[in-house]
């Protein structure tokens, strides 16, 4: 079967919560983004790899990254291009600020609708919020089928995409027609490395706003001759979105309280599998109100 696919990968720039130092939280309990390096959300990289595998299978396919965030999130799109994506869209507007997963999904779904892809692939969840809601919500808003917990996109059987899912008690292989949304687990293969030639080819790719900030030439001539060096930037009106469903007004999530939990170091306890040990652990947990 000869085909080319239009693939959109949803990706997010996140603070690297895996290497949390003592400055990671501010006194008010919010994340101190300045202290944590901004990285490509790890499971979104697994998602990108699945897209790249599809592109390897069907040469001529196009992969675009879609990310929502402040201007600096364009880095995510470049990072994707360095690994084999063809381009991307940065969805950026002050009106998006403060969006919870529902408002985010709405905004993304508007952009996806405009891109009109065959396949939308996203990481299962982002390491800053850990909600795993955005992928599925985008699918719902677009009324598309969704395959979650994917570990491998195997290929096509007829017109249906075959996907292997990693579930709690085993592996499930499903078939699904296009268009669809796939969310990918961290247990899927790692993303391929940045490629030297692609890095050199795409390193000057920037968004219009970055170009305005850039006081040096920003290689304007180069960018005129090479259209792929211009990263698309969309705002609310570009994706025809309803202001009310965006930002704080579009976000029903209310954070009641944030607690800064400090783990008091305790000695480790070694238990055997014996009934007596388990019984005594249960008693202890009930006594400490952890259970019951």
């Amino acid at each position: 079967m000869k085909k080319t696919l239009k693939i959109v990968v949803l990706a997010k720039q996140v603070p690297d919560t895996r290497n949390v130092g003592k400055d990671a939280m501010k006194a008010d309990g919010t994340v101190n983004r300045a202290a944590l390096p901004a990285i490509f959300n790890p499971e979104d990289l697994n998602a990108l790899e699945q897209a790249l595998v599809l592109k390897d299978m069907f040469p001529g396919s196009r992969i675009d990254l879609l990310t929502m965030g402040p201007g600096r999130a364009a880095e995510i799109i470049r990072e994707g291009m360095f690994r084999g994506a063809d381009g991307g869209v940065l969805l950026t507007d002050r009106k998006f600020a403060g969006s919870d997963t529902l408002a985010t999904s709405y905004a993304l779904s508007r952009a996806v609708a405009k891109l009109n892809p065959d396949i939308i692939i996203a990481g299962r969840q982002a390491i800053d919020g850990d909600t795993a809601q955005v992928g599925p919500q985008v699918a719902e808003k677009l009324n598309l089928p969704q395959v979650t917990y994917a570990e491998e996109i195997v290929g096509f059987e007829g017109e249906e995409l075959i996907i292997r899912r990693r579930l709690e008690h085993g592996v499930e292989t499903v078939a699904c027609s296009l268009p669809l949304v796939v969310t990918v687990n961290g247990s899927a293969p790692d993303c391929r490395p940045r490629n030297a030639k692609l890095v050199m080819k795409y390193k000057h790719a920037i968004t219009p706003s970055e170009c305005q900030q850039d006081e040096v030439s920003c290689y304007a001539d180069l960018r005129t001759n090479r259209p792929y060096l211009n990263i698309t930037e969309w705002n609310v009106s570009d994706v025809d979105a309803d202001d009310q469903q965006l930002g704080l007004s579009g976000s029903p999530t209310k954070v009641k309280k944030i607690e800064n939990v400090v783990f008091a170091a305790k000695e480790a306890k070694r238990l055997t599998g014996s009934d007596r040990d388990i019984e005594s652990l249960i008693q202890e947990l009930i006594a400490s109100h952890t259970l019951g």
Binding site: R192, N195, A196, L198, L222
Partner: protein, 570 residues
């Protein structure tokens, strides 16, 4: 999440040498590729930015993939299955990732799919790979065989083979035979022209061939029947797709176990002649060998880096008598000398690389157009420097990496002797560096004429003529240079070649200590970070030069009898 480029300030420092502008402009030939290739740089700054980004990729792959794989590779090693090599799984993964990242053909021209990077960056990359896994550096680093093809092969051959190297195929250079090691004139593997098949056919055995089952092999063979010396040898390229070479066995080595060292049997193996007949050893192997020696300089420096880092980390963590052992002066001094030698190795590595690079770039340029008289003079001067510095580098860097690996185990104490820590592997891996691609003794043979003809002295005087912030150190180096001159004068005045050979290593090392001191002093003038290491190295140089000078002062040609007589004593 380690990055062997970003975590190494000293490595990054060497990107910014003033000669880099000249080097990059020569390599990029006025940035002529910028309109032809979407990944070619448009100017010097753009090029340096690209190099830096690619070094970061390599640093990340080395830190996150190659280094974590090294222990498994060391334990499992490659195997022979059905007469062919199967790499250890870690090695196979390393190759795959390097290929996916587009890191084969680093220095090759873009028209074959290469990155056209200056040699300096290939050397840097080799250093990082060796720090991660010295054995893997051999396999990946052998892509420099393609440089010899690029220099001497026909356009058709380049088209065929270089393109494949750029896609991730590996290389080998098949020189050594059971009876032809250091003495390659004795190579016997036979090449004969088969009229019926219209090809050269190779028959015979090669031994100790690193990555001998690589896709593309350069083979030194005897094409002139009845000859017994270098003039009967030619260079051939063999393509593994012909499946006419069997791997009889893989050597069971002390170290660099991930790198398959093969015994090969050629049976009517079709091969293509590279360049001119009879020039195999005289011209092409010399080119291969010089590149390989630079490669060992990089490998050694990478190993030294690994050994120093392991030792430093352990010395800070390990507590004895209530404090970290680094707080004991004996350990601290050990570590500080390790660092001075490491930085010294690296300084000499990049100085040498720049010399080699400029002369190579002029050579390539001379194929495109006639060089201007000034360019020709410069090419000649750099060729001479490259010739003089390459064996000096190979000698010093490989001996230092052995010192560092030895000292690293010492810092670890009993734990370092165990397989639980990587230093024992580094120690085993280091041991080959002063043996292969010419032993230290042979490096001295290559270097000594630059002692007697004054190449080293002239270059030292060049360094001396420059301004240094550390003038107190410079005064001391002037004294060392005078000592060196006196020693050389005394030894050469005897006009006794055997006596010159007897003191050759002492004299070459004296020159090396002075050269390295100047290089570190220059760095210290630019970056405060090098002040202590420069000063420490000068102290070390003084000690070494004094010892050698004392020996030479007291020595007469009668010593030659001593070294013979001792054998017959009780």
């Amino acid at each position: 999440m380690a990055n062997f480029f970003l975590d190494n300030k000293d490595l990054q420092y060497h990107m910014n040498h003033p000669l880099m502008k000249k080097i990059v402009e020569l390599k990029e030939k006025g940035f002529a590729d910028k309109d032809k290739y979407d990944y070619a740089p448009v100017d010097f700054e753009d090029a340096q930015d690209s190099y830096r980004r690619v070094m970061e990729i390599i640093g990340e792959i080395c830190g996150d993939i190659v280094a974590p794989n090294a222990e498994g590779v060391d334990h499992e090693g490659p195997k022979v299955v059905d007469n062919h090599v199967v790499y250890a799984p870690g090695t196979a993964q390393n190759i795959e990732v390097m290929a996916k990242a587009g890191l084969f053909g680093l220095t090759l021209p873009r028209k074959y799919g290469g990155l056209n990077f200056p040699l300096v960056y290939f050397v840097m990359a080799n250093e990082m790979v060796a720090r991660a896994d010295a054995g893997f550096e051999n396999i990946w680093g052998l892509q420099d065989c393609a440089e010899t093809l690029n220099e001497f092969a026909s356009e058709e051959q380049k088209e065929k083979y270089l393109t494949r190297v750029c896609q991730g195929e590996t290389c080998a250079m098949d020189l050594t035979e059971p009876d032809a090691g250091s003495d390659l004139q004795a190579v016997m593997l036979k090449a004969h022209w088969d009229e019926a098949r219209g090809t050269w056919l190779l028959n015979g055995v090669k031994r100790f061939i690193t990555n001998g089952d690589g896709h593309i092999s350069l083979v030194l063979a005897r094409s002139e029947e009845g000859t017994t010396d270098a003039r009967g040898l030619s260079m051939f390229v063999y393509d593994r797709n012909n499946m006419a070479v069997k791997v009889r066995r893989i050597e069971n080595k002390l170290g660099i176990k991930g790198s398959p060292t093969c015994e090969l049997v050629f049976t009517d193996a079709p091969a293509e002649l590279v360049g001119d007949r009879k020039m195999g050893l005289i011209k092409y192997v010399m080119s291969l060998m010089n590149a390989a020696r630079l490669g060992i300089g990089a490998q050694s420096t990478g190993l030294s880096e690994a050994a120093y880092r392991e030792a430093l980390k352990y010395a800070k963590e390990r507590q004895q008598f209530g404090k970290p052992i680094i707080e004991f002066p004996a350990i601290k001094e050990l570590l500080s000398n390790m660092k001075a030698k490491l930085l010294g190795s690296r300084a000499l590595l990049y100085e040498t690389t720049r010399f080699v690079e400029i002369y190579k770039d002029y050579t390539h340029l001379s194929h495109d157009r006639k060089l201007e008289p000034a360019e020709r003079a410069e090419m000649k001067a750099y060729t001479r420097l490259a010739d003089a510095f390459t064996p000096m580098l190979k000698l010093m860097a490989s001996e230092y990496c052995n010192d560092l690996a030895y000292d690293a185990i010492q810092v670890f104490g009993g734990s370092g002797y165990m397989k639980d820590y990587p230093v024992e592997r580094l120690y085993r891996d280091a041991r080959i560096t002063n043996i292969y691609e010419g032993t230290s003794q042979l490096q001295v043979v290559a270097a000594i004429r630059h002692v007697t003809t004054g190449t080293y002295l002239n270059q030292i005087k060049e360094y001396e003529a420059q301004e240094y912030e550390q003038s107190h150190l410079k005064d001391r180096l002037v004294v060392l240079r005078e000592t060196y001159e006196k020693c050389v004068a005394k030894v050469t005045a005897t006009e006794n070649n055997e006596f010159v050979d007897f003191h050759a290593r002492r004299m070459v090392e004296m020159a090396a200590h002075i050269v390295i001191s100047y290089l570190l002093m220059r760095q210290a003038g630019e970056v405060e970070d090098y002040r202590a290491s420069a000063e420490l190295y000068v102290k070390y140089a003084e000690m070494q030069v004094a010892a050698a000078a004392r020996y030479i002062e007291q020595s007469t040609p009668a010593d030659l009898e001593l070294i013979s007589d001792v054998e017959n004593e009780a």
